[in-house]
């Protein structure tokens, strides 16, 4: 399965997302923000970083780059799309996902190993998890506070579109401890924490078993890749 990873000017975790796709059994395909070509990919990852230096608002400028019009069309046609951190911000700015992301309530950038609960296992990117499974993946952001109006929050909660919720610590002041959400169809998922940084033993978060051995993020990628393969 071909999984595209888009590089915007200022993308930082693009090569990490490519590595994670590979570890998940897919074929990573580099996509360029200035193109209109999705190169026949089966799924798309918008990686973390500071596209366009977060100028204006995080993700605001990238949302208007040429490739995003193709991403929006593909997403509306049902292609799995995952937005990580800055990618989540871009999905929100593109209106593929509702709500917005604002400066962390404490004002500082924060990097930590974050515990999450998976609350919806029916999306393209979470179907490999068990219901209410607790996972730990790294989180690193300065503008990760999820906000939405009450009506939207109620809808997200009511329809099961809250896919990941922060446990123990809400690291950025997100409404309802929301870490990640999906669209109604479940093919588009965005979250602030970084699953691609918990995919390779030795380079992920610490676990009880061993230092840096956490690979809870791998299931994001295997979820999408194996269901694509099953439907192929």
């Amino acid at each position: 399965m071909r999984v595209g990873v888009i590089t915007f000017p200022g993308s930082l975790d693009d090569r990490d997302a490519q590595r994670a796709v590979k570890l998940g059994g897919g074929e990573p395909v580099a996509l360029w923000h200035g193109d209109h070509d999705l190169k026949n990919v089966d799924a798309i990852v918008l990686p973390g970083g500071f596209s366009y230096g977060d100028y204006l608002r995080a993700g605001a400028i990238a949302a208007h780059s040429p490739i995003m019009s193709e991403v929006i069309t593909a997403a509306n046609a049902g292609m799995p799309v995952l937005g990580i951190c800055n990618g989540f911000q871009i999905l929100v700015e593109s209106h593929l996902l509702p709500g917005g992301l604002v400066r962390n309530d404490h004002g500082d950038f924060v990097c930590r190993d974050q515990k999450l609960r998976v609350e919806n296992v029916d999306t393209a990117w979470s179907n490999g998890f068990k219901e209410d499974e607790e996972i730990i993946i790294p989180l690193k952001n300065g503008e990760g506070g999820y906000i939405a109006d009450q009506e939207t929050l109620d809808r997200l909660e009511g329809e099961g579109q809250v896919v990941f919720r922060y446990l123990e610590v809400n690291p950025n002041g997100s409404a309802n401890d929301i870490a990640g959400i999906s669209n109604a169809r479940g093919n588009v998922v965005g979250l602030m924490p970084h699953p691609e940084h918990a995919t390779e033993p030795g380079f992920g978060p610490d676990t009880r078993a061993a230092m840096r051995s956490g690979t809870d993020g791998l299931t994001f990628f295997t979820s999408a890749i194996s269901s694509l393969m099953a439907n192929a």
């Binding site: 000017p9 200022g10 930082l12 975790d13 090569r15 990490d16 590595r19 973390g48 970083g49 500071f50 366009y52 230096g53 977060d54 100028y55 404490h106 500082d108 950038f109 924060v110 990097c111 930590r112 790294p138 690193k140 300065g142 970084h194 691609e196 940084h197 390779e200 030795g202 380079f203 610490d206 061993a210 230092m211 840096r212």
Partner: protein
């Protein structure tokens, strides 16, 4: 000198309205300089001494133009010319053995040293100061410190892969410290995170000697394939000189000469106009753009623009190449069109690079920079005239031999004097201070030390840095050293640590510098890596103070001697003088960064305990060495005596022992002993993964003939705590005996009970340890 250069110097003779376009500004030309030999020039305000100005006139055979004066003043500043330190730094090049240079691809003098690490890979790394800007404007000062060192790494043809910082702030309870520390940390966080470089370690100390002189030393590491190595030289007559990256603005003008080479005088005007402003997004794009240029073989030579901006880049590139260069300065793209020619020459605007490009490759070059939306202008070309000639709207404003600007600057043998106060200081040993007598007192003092600002948990700082990006971080804080994978196939990696104990250096700068090297070396060895190279950042007071010069001379001598004995070369670094306010210099602070290699990062050694029932050994011997220790400072507010004994041969044997044990895969954890002694190391080993231990001191006290307080708090060198699986115990004992390295079993790990029990003395639960350790910085600087 007290007024920023930009406000007093640049006369604009024919300009009546300062807001008009720079085209109307007429610069001082060479012919004008010849016609008006007696014109008074403000060389003093630019940091030049009368004899230096006279020397410039002698070199040129006329008075310099104002543009030439700008160039000489910045390039002959202490910061750029190393005029006070050059005579001493030569030792690093002289005190070398064949073993030390065999893997060195590029040594001192280039932007950064380069080491051959095998498998066709090379690593480049360097540490550099950005102290003075970080006091005036902590956020921007620290941010651009990161930006500058990263551009040095790119200039070598390498991809930057990691950063770290060595920081020194004033006393934690001084109201100004929060301003500086918060600004510096958020500046590093802002810039480094936005560049996508993992911050993998470093150190932070608080001491009132740094109150008005914080130290911000930024380190960057890059990796490259051998064939991608680039150097800063302008070769090939007719090759184009291209400036690309951010536009040139009025920021940082005179930064090099005015800021870095002058002490702050209390009550003087602030110097904020001379601090640079950074844009990490522009730098991130510049990194990717440069790497694509290197990959396409589109660049012959390259130099970053840092201190002294275009003055430095043009004169250094020309000096290191064919010797001549012609530049049309009006082609520089400006952010502020009112800048004068002199200001353009001096501007330290960030995120700029200068490349030498073959004419036939210019089209390909421009295609790449366009892809990355990087602005570019061709300024001129390489010539064989032996002169650096700079025109401004067809009039010659600079005509110099580039070496006289960049290389053959003044060199001083500054007066050196043995400090009058040092004998008295050294006689005041901490050995006579009251030591804790029983378990209750020991426990209480151990908690005080754990919570003291210098030993407290630094996650308030490090949680603001991205340690995951790039996906190759194998170790970072709070481990002994950072470690990064270089090659995803083989697992080849490097490890890096920085250290300097300013208190030890104050007591004895020769030993103190050696102790800094020994500790960084030990930190790297504790991760399982093999130390191979050194970069240093030498932070001192004013070189015009003979006692400071004595400290500097002793520290350099100590470090050079130690590097020779440990067979590990200094590959580059930086000197920062004038770190003082009024007459009070900082403690000498030679920050030493050691780079090590490991054949596969999967073989790294954790710093904390993870398993049940492992035997805990203390390697090395412990003597009554509390002078200059964290214990003396924290408990008794005392600094005096002589620092711990240096035994470099023992450090090497210890490193070899760890390496041998790791090759047999019998070392479950290793953690070095330094500030705070055994107590601190034991506590950190528990807190790392929440696995406790039962520790007994009896055999240690008897063998080394010391009391429990000395055992716990002494800072004797050449020591580590290791944990060994039971089944490997015999093998490990054999290894130590075979190598004659002292080892004493002091305990056993206990996963079931998360506590540190020092038998017959006291017990501290994990909870108690964490509470003491974690509160200090968050309380001082806010959550």
């Amino acid at each position: 000198m007290s007024t920023p250069a930009s406000t007093i110097f640049w006369e604009k003779p024919l300009v009546t309205d300062v807001s008009t376009n720079s085209r109307q500004h007429v610069a001082d030309t060479v012919s004008n300089a010849m016609a008006t030999p007696e014109k008074e020039q403000p060389y003093g305000a630019l940091g030049l001494k009368p004899d230096e100005y006279a020397k410039i006139r002698e070199i040129l055979g006329r008075r310099p133009t104002s543009g030439e004066l700008a160039m000489y003043s910045v390039m002959w500043s202490e910061h750029c010319s190393y005029k006070s330190s050059k005579n001493y730094l030569r030792q690093f090049g002289k005190k070398v053995s064949e073993n030390m240079t065999k893997n060195l691809m590029v040594g001192m003098g280039e932007n950064a040293g380069v080491i051959d690490v095998g498998e066709g890979w090379a690593v480049t790394f360097k540490i550099e100061s950005h102290n003075h800007p970080s006091y005036i404007e902590p956020f921007q000062g620290a941010a651009t410190g990161v930006g500058g060192i990263v551009r040095d790494i790119i200039s070598m043809g390498a991809r930057p892969v990691a950063v770290m910082d060595a920081l020194r702030f004033g006393a934690i309870d001084n109201p100004d410290t929060a301003r500086v520390a918060k600004g510096v940390v958020s500046g590093i966080s802002f810039y480094g995170n936005c560049l996508g470089l993992p911050n993998i370690g470093g150190e932070t100390y608080f001491d009132s000697v740094y109150q008005a002189n914080p130290l911000v030393n930024a380190l960057a590491v890059g990796v490259l394939r051998h064939e991608d190595l680039h150097l800063a030289n302008a070769r090939g007559v007719g090759n184009k000189v291209v400036l690309f990256g951010a536009r040139t603005g009025g920021d940082g003008i005179g930064g090099a000469s005015i800021l870095a080479s002058d002490s702050f005088s209390e009550g003087g005007p602030t110097k904020r106009p001379a601090v640079q402003v950074g844009d990490p997004f522009a730098e991130k794009v510049l990194i990717e753009c440069c790497l694509e240029l290197f990959q396409g073989d589109l660049v012959e030579g390259i130099q970053d623009l840092g201190a002294a901006g275009i003055s430095c880049a043009t004169s250094e590139l020309a000096s290191n190449g064919d010797g001549g260069m012609f530049i049309e300065l009006e082609k520089v793209l400006l952010r502020d069109p009112t800048l004068t020619a002199e200001e353009i020459l001096m501007s330290e605007s960030q995120e700029r690079m200068m490349a030498i490009v073959k004419p036939e490759k210019l089209e390909g070059f421009l295609k790449v920079v366009e892809k990355w939306d990087v602005e570019t202008s061709v300024l001129g070309e390489v010539t064989d005239t032996g002169r650096l000639i700079i025109n401004w709207h067809d009039e010659e404003i600079v005509n110099v031999e580039p070496r006289t600007v960049a290389i053959d600057g003044p060199v001083y043998d500054r007066p050196v004097a043995y400090p009058k106060w040092i004998d008295k200081l050294q006689a005041d040993s901490a050995s006579g201070l009251a030591r804790p007598k029983d378990g209750t007192e020991l426990r209480d003092q151990m908690l005080q030390l754990l919570a003291s600002p210098n030993l407290a948990d630094k996650s308030w700082i490090t949680d603001q840095y991205d340690r995951y990006v790039l996906g190759n971080t194998a170790l970072s804080f709070p481990d002994d050293a950072g470690m990064v994978r270089i090659d995803e196939e083989s697992g080849l990696g490097f490890s890096v640590a920085t250290d300097a104990n300013g208190r030890f250096c104050q007591l004895d700068p020769y030993a103190g510098a050696q102790l800094a090297l020994a500790e960084a070396f030990r930190n790297v060895a504790a991760t399982g890596a093999n130390p191979v190279a050194v970069s240093d950042c030498l932070n001192f007071g004013s070189p015009e103070n003979p006692e400071v010069m004595w400290q500097f001379s002793k520290a350099v001598e100590g470090l050079a001697d130690a590097c020779l004995e440990m067979e590990i070369p200094v590959t580059g670094g930086n000197v920062s003088f004038y770190n003082q306010t009024g007459d009070v210099p900082i403690h000498p602070t030679p920050v030493v960064a050691v780079l090590g290699l490991i054949r596969d990062v999967a073989e790294r050694i954790p710093s904390g305990w993870q398993d049940e029932g492992n035997n805990i050994y203390l390697l090395g011997t412990t003597a009554l060495e509390l002078d200059g220790s964290a214990w003396a400072g924290t408990i008794h507010d005392h600094l005096g005596g002589l620092p711990p004994k240096v035994d470099l041969a023992a450090e090497r044997r210890l490193a070899d022992l760890i390496k041998a044990g790791n090759e047999q895969n019998i070392i479950a954890s290793a953690h070095d002993l330094a500030d705070g002694g055994l107590a601190q190391t034991l506590a950190e080993s528990v807190m790392r993964f929440g696995v406790g231990a039962r520790v007994w001191l009896g055999e240690l006290l008897e063998r080394d003939d010391i009391d429990a307080a000395t055992a716990l708090f002494s800072e004797s060198t050449g020591r580590m705590v290791v944990s060994i699986p039971r089944e490997d115990d015999v093998k490990f004992r054999g290894l130590c005996e075979g190598r004659g390295y002292p080892a004493v079993r002091i305990g056993v790990t206990d996963a079931a009970s998360p506590a540190l029990e020092i038998q017959d003395q006291f017990t501290l639960t994990l909870e108690e340890l964490l509470t003491a350790h974690r509160g200090t910085l968050a309380e001082a600087f806010g959550a």
